[in-house]
Amino acid sequence: MTDPKSYAMKAKHQRLILVVVALAAIIGAGFLAAYALQSEANYFYEPGQIAADPPEVGQAIRLGGMVQEGSLNTLEDGITVAFVVTDKESATVDVRYTGILPDLFVEGSGVVADGRMDEEGVFIADELLAKHDENYVPRELQDMDQHAPDKTLIPAEQTT
């Protein structure tokens, strides 16, 4: 370190390495993220699409639609519910969900469920997102409803 010139040279050399490493990391992150997004994203299906082009068994998907009137019932174990999700074309998918139903989960209302299809063509839901309030429709269901609800009534929940 006595010779400042050699230090500068060395530093320059190191700096170059650093820039290369940084760029490699960022680009690597980009590719990694792109690849992971391809494989890990939950594709959104409506009942009609499941009938037409069924997803692979076991692949994580998100199902959206309306809970069919009169289809909700609790199975023997007391904690698993079965219901039918339908869409405008009246295609239907049987859904099983083990757990506590979310607030405002009612028949005839919209629901979005995360889960996967099993071999029998039943959708096994890990999680249900029901409408939070009268004024909220999950974005995925807007096409199914007549319109996006707008600032008509309830102070929509603010979270920030």
């Binding site: 060395k10 530093a11 960022i26 019932n73 904690i79 909220y136 920030t160």
Partner: protein, 649 residues
Amino acid sequence: MIAELGLAALWIAAALAVLQLVGGAVAQRDPESDLAKLVRPAAIIQGVLAAFSFVMLLYLFAVTDLSVKLVATNSHSDKPMIFKLAGAWGNHEGSMLLWITVMAMAGGLIGLVERRLPEKTMMATLAAQAFVAMGFYAFILLSSNPFERLPQPAIEGMGLNPLLQDIGLAFHPPTLYFGYVGLSVAFSFAVGALLTRKVGPDFARAMRPWVLGAWIFLTLGITAGSYWAYYELGWGGWWFWDPVENASLMPWLAATALLHSVSVLAARDALRAWTIMLGVVAFSMSMLGTFLVRSGILTSVHAFAVDPERGSFILVLLALYIGGALLLFALRAGTVAEGERFAIASREGALVFNNVMLSAILGIVLLGTLYPLLTEAFDVRVSVGPPYFNPVGAIFVIPMLMVMAVGPLLRWRNDNFHRVKLPMAMVAGIMLAVLALVLVLGSYGWLPMLGLAVSIGLAIGSFLPLRGRNLLRVPTATWGMVIAHFGIAVALFGMASESAFSEERLAAVEVGDSTQVGPWTVVLDQVAPVAGPNWTAIEGRLSAQYGDGAAIDLRPQSRNFWAPPQETTESTLATRWNGQLYAVIGNQASDGRWQLRLWWKPFVTLIWYGGILVALGGLLALIGRLRTDLKRRSAKSRNAERKLEEAEV
């Protein structure tokens, strides 16, 4: 009358922002002009007026003035005073007013106390702050006026969303906003420095307290928000990678990177362009987050009204400010003289590594959050969740934390790894030992296992910078760093423990039956209807025993609110030193049994204690910096300052 006063104050404040912008611009050409002299007073008065306006809104909520639409929509005369006041910012218009108030007050504070920067840079900074504020004034005054009146006063307000009637949540938005908007100061500093090309240690030292302050608030806000989601939503999770959560995480990641790069700039005059870039990015992330949340452009578990009109307005602001700042950066960054060089094996090297990793994580979160937006343009609808964020994020988080355990041991300028061989070996040894132990204990996912190992190594490593020093003479700022790094380790341990050791039990039980979860035995004693002021509920009365200890009474509820009608799940928690029991009651099955969902989550509370420790570390660092700042005010010698900087961190 009060509402009109508040609105008038806001209009005048907006006019002052215009004056401040013009004055600041004139000052760039002619620092002695009369207009330039008006800039500081304009900033200060603008801050006062905006604060006045917000106080008026608080007053309207305090007295529940039902002729004001916002009050009628979000308040109720029977509500406790604290929630009446919280109602003022628990909605779109009010929270935007809070945003601009904090922003104007921050600008006023710069005008009042900042004496470090060259006058020209100072004027450019205040002009930039005013320019950003103007957009938000326009947004409030033109599209979301909080003081709007109803044609006829309402008889009674609609209350506040019951989910928001919670003391933790009442202070969640303000805390986050202090953080977001504090970053606007860093943004203005960066723009000011680009305009005047004055980037150096002085600039870094002037900017640092603001970044620290904002970062402390962001840390607290995210911690509080996570805890709120944990006990209020009743899903047992503490982080959902929801767009709204990511909106607050992204500014935090950028601010954390900025915090560290500012230290490098202050101590070594390196990373000039990079620091400026991060200053722009950090506030951009705040605005982007607000845009994503307010426009309803992304689906979120948090419900909010979808409002394309407001979304478009914020998008225009985004394009104007972020686009403008990035354009300025592209044009000017090359002319900011290149900073000092440094070696890889040095403190700067470790900090640069931290910055690269944080940027990568930020990129990953940003991509994951925006990906649904991208695919939707091609009519493919997807949602991105933990399966993407957790593993991909971990690839960068784990190495970053490993470097974090030993980075602070390195010296500035030039060091060699040989010197810190022993502590590095020690930390690595601890990590490997823990990993081996966990492997013996049972089979868990690789992420929680690595998390446990790294967190314990990091917990030990974070105190290493103190070894061999007189603890009483260690600078406050260094203590701050140690505590903050330790806090990260604590939080990480909580997260890893929760995902590795949690046990869940979902059961349908009859009254009188008992069920087991982890070391707990839970008995459902009875189920009773209860009523509150504006709700009725089904309440489960549980007695829970840890091992064979005394029974604890737990009362989870499923509540039904009237006006507006809503159902909420009220979970209950039993906290012990080594974890939490979490209980939720569901519906009654047709055969009369009740659904119970129970979790035993070992050490889950460490997640939030860790967050608080991180914020505390930030606070100590801020106090330390401000104290030396005040001491150094008289001493003009830059060299002395730099030496001190190198000595203390």
